[in-house]
Structure formats: structure tokens, C-alpha cells
């Protein structure tokens, strides 16, 4: 068995900032304070019109190489997670192999997952290393949901921000990445979805027609749709057993875990989940006030912030928990 360790992470947020004040002028009856109170978010970073997930991911990776003096030539596998790829084909990971100066002897692939993607990416990296397929895996999680969001859909626009993170997972003598628990329930596929644009339903003038829902949110079939009530119901049903099973599989208890880093969804949901999972507040990391829910980049962004602010220290045992679109969920314990 070849062990793997999550070595380093860097993140990148695009320059444009969308504030609650700006949003409150668009949505009648909503104040900047109300948006903050409900979501725990004050601002989100939004990509430029011509700035893609590939661009954000590339910037995060270059930052990683510079911050930790990593030679791109040492990378032998690229995993790129996004749901807003640069092209239908080829894979964004292939384009980044060239642009980041990673050897042509590397493997590279994209995988399409959202809020559960980071932990899934770690599981793939661990498998590639254990299988003697790769030694240094670059996992990039990059998302630009803003490109799918209708400006007048407050249910999604108040929550999601764009962002990217790059993580290096390497073969190591110490055991850094421990046991995983993964899960999927495709019956909820249409609860968080962009209905049009793929082969099932191509974009047309018909799919671009906007409709207003009962909460006065405007969107078309080309836009991101989230049935928030069902997503909330899904998470409160799935996440607490996921946490218990992950503790069990890692033969530990909540007391043995120094820090819990959940997908940074929104304050309301996270507070509810924390209480339901009986996790002490001081062990539960939340830091997304200025960037919102950055989907697959949210966990690694939170990890970099927890390191910077001194919450996450070397030698700590950390549980990472992802959940969302798919519907899909994932958790792992790591030795930091």
C-alpha cells in the first residue's frame, strides 16, 4: 500500500466583487443586512465575462507553484473538477498540462462534480498513488457558477461565488489521507441543475425564455436552478449519518477530530448541520463571508484560510465533508 499526503494548497478568487448592497437594489424587500443574516455572506468574487474556470484554476496552480517552490515538471497527474468547463471537449485538464508546463508524460482528466468534488478528487488522487499510477497529483477545483446564474435569481446569486483552488497530493511515508465515505443519490439530479445546454436539451430561443417563480426569482432553462428546500432537506438527512460513518470507518470519535471543514454552503445550513452532528462550535470552521459558496473550491479555500489564521496546525486530525449537486456526498479524515 502506497501512502499519500495532502501537501499544499493555494487558492485564487477573481477580482470583481459583488456586494449585498448591490444585490439589495435589485431585489425588492431585501436589504443588505437581511442577505447577510440569512446567508452569512457579505460579498462574492465573480469572474470576468471572458475569464473561465480554466483561467481561475491556472492562476491557483501558478500560485501554488510559486508559494511552495514546486516544479511543474514534478507533477505526473492533473485532476480538474468543474461544472463550467472551458469547452465541451477537450478536457480543461489537457489544456492546463500545456499551459502550466507539466510534462507530456502526465495523465490528465476532468471530472464533473460540484460541492462534493474536492473530497472525491482526494479519493481519486489517493487511488492513483496507491495504484502506483502517479506520485504527484495536482488536483484543481475551479468553478464559475456565475456564468449560469440569472442576475434576477436571488436564490442562487446571493449564495454562489466563483473561485478556484489547487492542491498537491504526493506519495509519502506518512499516512496523510485516511479513510473515505462516499455516496450518491441520482434521484435528486433535477434539484440542482442547469437544464439546457447539454445533449439532452440543447440551448435554443425556447430554453432562453425567462420565467418568474412564486418567490419572484427570474430564470430560464439555460440558467442554474436550485430547489433550496429539497437541497436543505437532503443535507440534513444525509450529512449527519455521513459524519458518523466516517468517524466509524476511521475508528475515531468527534473528540478525536481537531477540526471539521464542511463544504462552505451557507451559514443557515452549516449552523443547523453542526448542531445536528453535535460538533462543538470551536471545532467547526466557517470562513466564507467575503467569497460566498465557491462550490468545489470551498473546502480547499477554507483550509488555506484556517492555516493562515492559525486555526489549522500541523499534526491536527481534520474531517472534510462535501455534499450537494448530483446529489452527491463525500467525507474523509486527514492528518494535517
Amino acid at each position: 500500500m502506497k501512502n499519500s499526503t495532502l501537501l499544499t494548497i493555494s487558492s485564487y478568487l477573481p477580482d470583481i466583487i459583488l456586494t449585498n448592497e448591490e444585490l439589495s437594489t435589485l431585489y425588492s424587500g431585501w436589504t443588505a443586512e437581511k442577505i447577510f443574516e440569512k446567508t452569512g455572506i457579505k460579498t462574492r468574487h465573480i469572474s470576468e465575462k471572458n475569464e473561465t474556470a480554466g483561467d481561475l484554476g491556472k492562476k491557483a496552480a501558478r500560485k501554488l507553484f510559486a508559494e511552495y517552490s514546486i516544479d511543474p515538471q514534478s507533477i505526473d497527474f492533473i485532476l480538474f473538477a468543474t461544472q463550467s468547463p472551458d469547452y465541451f471537449l477537450p478536457s480543461t485538464a489537457c489544456i492546463l498540462q500545456d499551459q502550466l508546463g507539466i510534462p507530456t508524460t502526465s495523465g490528465a482528466l476532468d471530472f464533473n462534480l460540484g460541492c462534493s468534488a474536492y473530497v472525491y478528487g482526494l479519493s481519486l488522487a489517493k487511488g492513483l498513488i496507491a495504484g502506483n499510477i502517479a506520485s504527484n497529483v495536482l488536483l484543481i477545483t475551479a468553478e464559475t457558477y456565475s456564468k449560469y446564474i440569472n442576475p434576477m435569481d436571488k436564490s442562487t446569486r446571493t449564495i454562489f461565488g466563483d473561485g478556484a483552488a489547487a492542491t498537491l497530493i504526493s506519495r509519502d511515508d506518512s499516512e496523510g489521507i485516511l479513510e473515505f465515505v462516499l455516496g450518491t443519490d441520482g434521484s435528486g439530479y433535477d434539484r440542482l441543475i442547469v437544464p439546457a445546454g447539454g445533449m439532452r436539451c440543447s440551448r435554443s430561443s425556447k430554453t432562453a425564455a425567462e420565467c418568474t417563480d412564486e418567490s419572484e426569482n427570474v430564470r430560464s432553462q439555460d440558467n442554474l436552478f436550485m430547489e433550496g428546500t429539497d437541497i436543505f432537506s437532503f443535507t440534513i438527512g444525509r450529512v449527519p449519518p455521513l459524519v458518523s460513518k466516517t468517524l466509524e470507518k476511521n475508528q475515531c470519535s468527534i473528540d478525536d477530530i481537531d477540526l471539521f471543514v464542511f463544504h462552505q454552503a451557507n451559514k443557515y445550513m452549516l449552523n443547523f448541520l453542526r448542531k445536528k452532528c453535535k460538533i462543538p462550535e470551536e471545532k467547526f470552521y466557517m470562513n466564507f463571508e467575503d467569497c460566498g459558496n465557491t462550490v468545489s473550491a470551498s473546502i480547499p479555500i477554507a483550509l488555506t484560510r484556517a492555516v493562515s489564521d492559525g486555526t489549522l496546525k500541523c499534526g491536527m486530525k481534520v474531517m472534510l465533508v462535501g455534499f450537494g449537486v448530483g446529489l452527491s456526498w463525500s467525507a474523509v479524515v486527514i492528518n494535517w
Partner: protein
């Protein structure tokens, strides 16, 4: 739990004055928006160990429908 106690919990959730909510009251007379729906999912899950979905929430016409859901549980 008595009906009066349940109504009290709902008045607290909707942030309305005591005595405002009656069983026959229509949901559209209350601030029954997406945030209230999330709050009700959380409340029913915490107090009654039960999960409501979006379809159920949208089928509620009156407060009595909500009380019935609170009724069926343990």
C-alpha cells in the same frame, strides 16, 4: 404536544405576535417564503425527527396542513 403548543412554536418561527395564527388561516396570509420553508424543514426535523421536501411544503394551503404534519410524527 397540544395544538396550542404547536401553534406557539409556529408563531415563534414566523416571528408573529402570539394569537395571530389560527388553524384555518391560509398560508398566504403569513410570510410563507423560501426562508420560512427552510425554517419549517429545520423545525420539523429537530422537533419531530422528520424530513419535509419542497413538494410537501408547496402543498400546504392552511396552517391545519402544517399541524397535521406535526401530528403524524413521534
Amino acid at each position: 404536544m397540544t395544538q396550542a403548543e404547536k401553534i406557539e412554536i409556529l408563531e415563534d418561527m414566523f416571528e408573529v405576535d402570539p394569537g395571530t395564527i389560527k388553524p384555518e388561516m391560509n398560508m398566504d396570509e403569513l410570510p410563507w417564503d423560501s426562508i420560512a420553508m427552510l425554517s419549517l424543514i429545520a423545525l420539523v426535523n429537530e422537533r419531530f425527527e422528520k424530513r419535509l421536501n419542497g413538494l410537501q411544503l408547496r402543498s400546504f394551503n392552511t396552517i391545519k396542513d402544517v399541524l397535521d404534519v406535526m401530528e403524524q410524527t413521534v
